[in-house]
């Protein structure tokens, strides 16, 4: 096994044991980038020289006995909406062609303090306003979409071009590409992780979170982002490896989440739910509230907020936006204050209804996306009930509720379809109860590892 293939936890263990140096690990990942990046296009910018210098500094510190924690010397990528001092934050847009960040975002500063090595900036759907990331190719099948908007981060992690990465999630932009590329993605509770220095799509829906190869890895990154690694020096409390879920009440939706979902996705997720039950979890049927209004609330918040953010550049340099993003920003000018306030009031109702539902169960389990990665250029999908849905609407449909309600939501791989494309399962929990969501995900991951090839495998991209 090459160093670039290691999960974060395994790499951290090897670094701490003196079996692997940060320089060896970073060089291995940079070589992997060189060999596959021309086909995948996960990165906007690769900062190889500064990454090698950071790895050398980490190596010297660790050699002097100053290991900062599990992220020390681990190479990672940042979605190109996240400021890192001295590097452009292009948002994958010509609008930002001349931008250079004059300081670190809060999350970049946290990762830097934890000793992580910044490899570069990963592609996003332009300004995060889309679900495909057209510049980037799916790690498992280059003819298919990467998913978005954190497509570059997901593909980089899936293909061994980063040991972990950060993304942002406004309507599913961490979970969608993570699911489509067979990696783990965590959207933490709204407000848990600082968004300072992160380009916004929609202030009231934006979240920052990790994309990793395992649930365990997501836990390690989250601990660095929310500061637990500083409060608990010497180690982040590990999720128990035993995987016993006795006493855990798992809500299985009877409506919404399994409607207009491909049979292969439903079969894999229901099999994984059965696995949670075998681990001791109690399955409880739940009714998802206010589903008729999910898309209306999501759009009622996101569309005018995005237009407001871009007010200046939409007037000064409209031709620099991609056509799909420009027209959404322009049309957002027509959403009234009354529309926006109705969306905010409906959000209050939805949040309260979800709190009631989450009073009866500990987590809710569902598919992450209704279908696996579609071919690039495919605009719509026809469902068995005869309805036709835009691909972007389909990908956001099962993710948006967690953005509206702010609850933590994790996606992890639970199978493949007939073409070998990854299928993701979503676990949602109570606000600030990431621990329970991660515990359930980790238990599944450990159990699944015993029965098949296991978590953390890279996408089969030939070097």
């Amino acid at each position: 096994m090459q160093p670039y293939e290691l999960s974060l936890a395994d790499a951290a263990r090897a670094v701490a044991a003196g079996e692997l140096s940060p320089v060896e690990l970073t060089d291995s990942v940079l070589e992997r980038i060189e060999s596959v990046e021309a086909r995948l296009q996960a990165y906007v910018t690769v900062a190889a020289e500064s990454a090698r210098k950071a790895a050398a500094r980490a190596e010297q510190e660790i050699a002097r006995g100053r290991l900062r924690g599990p992220l020390h010397g681990i190479p990672m990528g940042l979605k190109d909406l996240i400021d890192a001092a001295g590097l452009p934050t292009t948002a994958s847009s010509r609008v930002r062609a001349d931008h250079v960040a004059d300081g670190d975002s809060a999350v970049a500063a946290r990762l830097s303090a934890a000793g992580a090595v910044l490899l570069g900036k990963t592609h996003t759907h332009e300004f995060a306003y889309g679900l495909t990331t057209p510049q980037t190719r799916n790690a498992h099948d280059h003819s298919r979409v990467a998913g978005g908007s954190s497509g570059g981060s997901a593909v980089a992690v899936a293909a061994g071009e980063a040991t972990f990465a950060l993304g942002t999630d406004t309507g599913g932009s961490i979970r969608v590409p993570a699911a489509l590329n067979g990696v783990v993605g965590l959207k933490p509770t709204y407000g848990l992780i600082s968004r300072q220095g992160v380009t916004s799509l929609s202030w009231s829906l934006d979240h920052v979170g990790p994309l990793t190869r395992t649930v365990r890895d997501a836990e390690l990154v989250l601990a660095a982002l929310d500061g637990r690694d500083r409060r608990e020096p010497g180690g982040v409390s590990a999720v128990p490896e035993s995987g016993d879920l006795t006493g855990l009440r798992v809500g299985v939706p009877r409506n919404y989440y399994f409607e207009r979902v491909s049979p292969e996705v439903e079969e894999s997720v229901r099999r994984a739910i059965g696995q949670l039950q075998e681990l001791g979890a109690e399955l409880v049927e739940v009714e998802i509230p206010m589903t008729r209004y999910i898309q209306a609330v999501q759009w009622g918040l996101m569309v005018p907020e995005a237009t407001s953010y871009h007010e200046g550049t939409l007037r000064s340099t409209p031709d620099l936006y991609a056509a799909d993003v420009r027209i959404l920003l322009e049309a957002g000018e027509f959403v009234s204050a009354g529309d926006y306030l109705r969306a905010q009031r409906a959000r209050t109702l939805m949040r309260d209804a979800w709190a009631q539902m989450l009073g009866r169960v500990d987590v809710i389990v569902a598919p992450s996306v209704p279908m696996t990665a579609v071919e690039s250029g495919q605009d719509s999908v026809r469902w068995a009930d005869g309805t036709v849905e835009a691909v972007s609407d389909s990908y956001v449909r099962l993710s948006a509720p967690a953005n509206i309600t702010g609850v933590p939501a994790l996606t992890l791989p639970v199978g493949r379809d007939h073409a070998g494309m990854p299928i993701g399962m979503q676990l949602m929990g109570r606000p600030l109860d990431e621990a329970t969501v991660l515990r359930a995900g980790r238990a599944y991951e450990v159990a699944a590892a015993r029965s098949d090839a296991g978590a953390g495998q890279l996408a089969p991209v030939a070097a």
Binding site: S204, Q295, R315, S336, D339
Partner: protein, 78 residues
């Protein structure tokens, strides 16, 4: 203003009022997209909100104050 059935000409006029001059070849497409967004968002008019307040939050404590008091640097909760 109700944007249901917004015509291209109305879209152009309304955009201009918002300080966004639209070139003539964009009027029709922008009106169509705006009408589609409106058709989705208008569903919320079915709800009886009674006294429900918006979910937006206002924090009288600024980030500067939070720093001086040693409070966390997370953002406002929903």
């Amino acid at each position: 203003m109700d944007t249901a059935g917004l015509t291209p000409q109305e879209a152009a006029r309304t955009a201009l009022r918002a300080g966004l001059p639209l070139e003539s070849d964009r009027h029709e497409a922008v009106a169509a997209t705006a009408n589609h967004i409106h058709s989705v968002i208008a569903t919320l008019r079915e709800l009886d909100f009674r006294d429900t307040p918006p979910a937006t939050s206002f924090m009288a404590v600024t980030a500067v104050t939070a720093v001086t008091t040693g409070q966390g640097d997370t953002d406002a909760a929903v």
